[in-house]
Structure formats: C-alpha cells, structure tokens
C-alpha cells in the first residue's frame, strides 16, 4: 500500500521547499506586517515559556555548523573515497557509537517508524545508500548545491520519508534556526524513497536549488532592484562583485534566454534568482513590470538565436555589465 502513497507523493505539484523559494523574504515579511497590523490589539498570549535551546547534537548540514558535530567526521574522511566503510551494526543508538569507522547515519527505532540521523553530511551518497540498504531500506539521500539561504533545508522528497527538523540545530543564513537533522521513515518500508538537502555550493558550482536572490544571506540581500533599470542594477551588482551570466525575458507566454550584451541597459529588472556563488540570473523586460505584450530586445534577432529558456549546460563566468 505504500506504493500508493509513494505514487501520490510523486504527483505533488509543488514541494514545501519550492513553496519556500516562491515566497520571497520581503513578500513574506510584508504579509506578516499586514496580518499583525490588521488587528488593533495584539492577541492575548500566555507568558512565553520558551527558552531557546541550542542543540549540540544533530546535524548541522551547514558547513559552519559542522564544528560541533563530533570528531567522527575525521574518521569518516579517513576511510577514503574508494571502498565505503563497513558499518558497525551497533550504530543503532545515537549515544554510544563504538566505532572503528563511524557510520554516516544512525538509526533509532521509534514505535512504527525509524529515525535516521545524519552524522556526516559530507559522506559519499553511496555510503548513505548502503547504510540504508543494510536495514533493508531503499533510500537515496543526497545533498545538492543550494544558494546560501537554503543551505541545510530539504529541497526534494520522494516517497514516505519525512525530514526531522530541529529548532536550534543550526543558524541558517536566511535567519531561521530550524534545520533538518535527519529523516523519518516507516519501519519495514519497502518502497523507494529519496530526499535531497541543499548543501553549500562549491566554488563555481551552479546551484540546483535556490531561494530568492534578496533573501538574507543571498547575493542581492538588501538591494532594491525590482522595477529598476538593468544598467543601474548591473552597476550595483558590480560593486558587490556579482555578475549576471544570463537573463530571462518573456515573449508572450514563453520565457527566453539572453546573454550579456543582448539586453538594453534601459530595460527593467523584474526579478532575480541566485545562479552560483557571485552570480545571479536577472528576469528583465522593457517595462517596469511584466506586460503581456512584451517582445524581444532590439539586439536579439527575434527569429532564431535565443531559445526558450531551460537551464543551460554551461555558465559564462565572464559576464560583464552592459549599459
């Protein structure tokens, strides 16, 4: 029957991670302000019993959070890239890893499900796969390069597997501190499941998962760029040493790709998206906001050269501003 749930999961049109991407930091903040302002008086709340916990265990999927994540990592890395480390079968409790070679994951049975904690976020995905397989689980766990503010968050889930988040497990660039420390899976689950977390991108590596370009921690945080002229935004970006390898603009309903030099400086920026470290993609058009009748920029031959946008194979690192 889990097969059914899995299938349903696969036709989900939008993941939460994608929803998070769609809701820009400032749009979200604006909505919160309006909600709070909508009632003259703040509602009654019980006195806060919360004290913020700082967890020392758990995963820091963030590079910066890793320091506290035990010395186990060193052992893991020393196992080398080649043959994966044998997994001690006693790794089922998080307390006593009597390890010769540390497990990349720990498994804890809780009632009708198993909680899997990620001990080593930089392990080869094959090792996760094998440790899952040892428990009879078919799970792909992977880390994909994400833009800074979503590093540490879930970007893709398939099958009956849910992330375990822990508040205070980390600090994320976007301002939260609620990060995944592992995944939960039903005991005896036989189907395939997959989950991907965003990890920090390596130098020059293109993000496969992104947040809004102006989210806290992103390349354009704090910049005003919507409805601004392209030339002005490029100049501001240049000051931050941020370049624009590609543009997107709409022709009718279709999103088209353009490259540096093809977009007039007097066009307007509609939106932006992180591309790679120090690079952003700009959504542009001839009007301050997107208009239904927009057409191609004058120095793009409307016939052939630009094609409907799809993630291009290569990134042009030498993008220079046009003006």
């Amino acid at each position: 029957m889990n097969d059914i749930d899995n299938l349903v999961g696969r036709i989900a049109p939008v993941t939460d991670a994608r929803a998070a991407e769609l809701l820009s930091e400032d749009a979200a903040a604006e909505l919160a302000d309006r909600i709070v302002a909508s009632t003259a008086e703040a509602p009654q709340v019980a006195p806060p019993a919360r004290s913020r916990r700082r967890l020392t265990i758990g995963l820091p999927l963030l590079a910066t959070g890793l320091a506290g994540a035990t010395a186990v990592t060193a052992l893991v890395f020393s196992s080398g890239g080649g043959s994966p480390a044998p997994v001690p079968s006693t790794a089922s409790t998080s307390h006593a890893p009597k390890v010769k070679l540390a497990a990349a994951l720990t498994f804890t049975r809780k009632g009708d499900h198993i909680d899997v904690r990620i001990r080593d976020p930089y392990a080869d995905p094959k090792r996760y796969k094998e440790e899952f397989a040892k428990r009879g689980l078919d799970v792909d766990l992977s880390m994909v390069p994400g833009s800074p503010s979503i590093v540490g968050t879930v970007v893709m889930i398939e099958g009956d597997i849910t992330p375990i988040n822990e508040k205070g497990a980390c600090e994320v660039a976007s301002g939260g501190d609620d990060c995944p420390v592992g995944v939960r899976i039903p005991a005896g689950y036989k189907e395939h499941a997959a989950v991907a977390f965003a990890r920090a991108a390596r130098r020059g590596e293109q993000y496969t998962s992104t947040a809004q370009a102006d989210a806290r921690g992103e390349a354009m945080h704090g910049m005003v760029y919507r409805r601004q002229r392209v030339a002005k935004v490029l100049a501001a970006l240049a000051k931050r040493h941020v370049t624009v390898p590609e543009y997107r603009y709409m022709v009718g309903n279709q999103s088209m790709t353009a490259h540096p030099g093809q977009i007039p400086g007097n066009w307007y920026v509609h939106d932006a998206s992180p591309w790679a470290a120090g690079q952003v993609l700009l959504f542009v058009g001839p009007h301050p906001t997107e208009q239904p009748g927009d057409s191609a920029p004058p120095n793009v031959n409307p016939g052939a050269p630009v094609t409907p946008s799809s993630p291009p194979a290569t990134v042009t690192p030498s993008a220079t501003p046009t003006s």
Binding site: R18, A20, A32, V36, A42
Partner: protein, 194 residues
C-alpha cells in the same frame, strides 16, 4: 537607552510568537495551498487567511509540533471555503499574489510529467475525501494520528478511510492500465534551478 518597561504581558510577545510560527510554517502552508489550487491568487489568499486566523487565535495555537497540524486544519477550512465559492479576496495579500504568479511562471514545473500523467488523471478521478486523505499522506507526509488531528476525527476513522481510499486509487490506476512506474529518476520532477 533602557527598554521601556511594559505591562506584565508585553504585546511584543504575541508578535514574536506569531513571527516564529510564521517563519517555521509559512512555506508548509503555502506548499499545502499550492498543491491544491492552480491559482496563485488562491494560494496567496489561503496563506494570508490561515495566518490571519492564527494571529487572531494565537492563544489556541498549540506550542509544539502540533502547531503545523493546527495550521493545516485551518488552511483546509479556508481552502474548502474557497472551493465553495466563498472567496474573500483578502486585502492582505495585494501584491503577494502577483509576485507568486510571476515566480511560479519563472519556476514553472510541468504538471504530471510523462509517465506520471495517468497517475494524475486517476488521482483526480477519486472522490474529494479520498484525495484529501491520500494527499495528506503523500504530500504533507502525515501519519494517521496527525491526519486525525487535522481532520478532527478519530485515528481509527482515518485508518479505515485511508485504507479504502488507497484501494479505490489502486483500482482506478488498474483500470487505466497505469501501475507504479518503474523508473524512478531522482531529480526530474524537481529540477530546481532557475
């Protein structure tokens, strides 16, 4: 400057608690809405109204992990109202919907790619109640107990109804000659980049 001392219960506490709640769950609620309505305006409304209700009833929002379930329960009722045609375009989200719309266009994901198309069709054939249960499991990843909380019914009722829903879905799939597709490509349906 010393902070001005407030009454024993500073209004800021409410605001802070709300903002924590909002930060922790806004993407989940927006995701919930976007998975159930194709219209970004509706999704924006559902997000806005759900958190407006949460703000107004902050005292009744559970403080633990149940907060998410509570919010799903509210979002569910807001969504049902939208489906019933009782649309109150909330003035709260004036340009949020516009932004969502352009962002959705930029991040366009084709519905039911390839092999999943018949699955989507079969799913849409199911009675509303079945779809709701199956999607709470498959999309929000809730278990029976959590679904019972969201729907306000007993766990046992969920178990029984879910069992039937799964059976009906399986039959519907079979009828269409669509069974679980074999190839499971990890990233296709979720290619993220801009």
């Amino acid at each position: 400057m010393p902070a001005t001392p407030k009454a024993s219960r500073p209004p800021d506490d409410g605001r802070r608690r709300f903002e924590e709640l909002y930060a922790a769950h806004r993407a989940q609620i927006l995701g919930y809405a976007l998975r159930r309505t194709a219209d970004p305006q509706d999704a924006a409304d559902i997000l806005a109204e759900t958190f407006l209700i949460a703000w107004r009833r902050l005292d009744t929002v559970p403080r633990d992990a149940e907060a998410r379930l509570w919010l799903y329960g509210v979002a569910r009722r807001v969504l049902a109202n939208h489906h019933r045609g009782a649309r109150r375009r909330s003035a709260l989200n004036l340009d949020l919907a516009g932004r969502l719309r352009s962002d959705l266009a930029a991040h366009h994901v084709p519905a039911d790619p390839g092999e999943l198309a018949p699955v989507g069709e079969a799913f849409r054939e199911l009675p509303e109640g079945d779809r709701e249960l199956l999607s709470l499991v498959g999309w929000e990843g809730l278990d029976n107990g959590e679904i019972a909380t969201v729907l306000g019914c007993s766990r046992n009722a969920v178990r029984v109804r879910l069992h039937r829903a799964r059976r009906r879905f399986a039959r519907e799939l079979e009828r269409r000659g669509a069974s679980a597709p074999q190839s499971r490509t990890l990233a296709t349906a979720h290619g993220e980049s801009a």
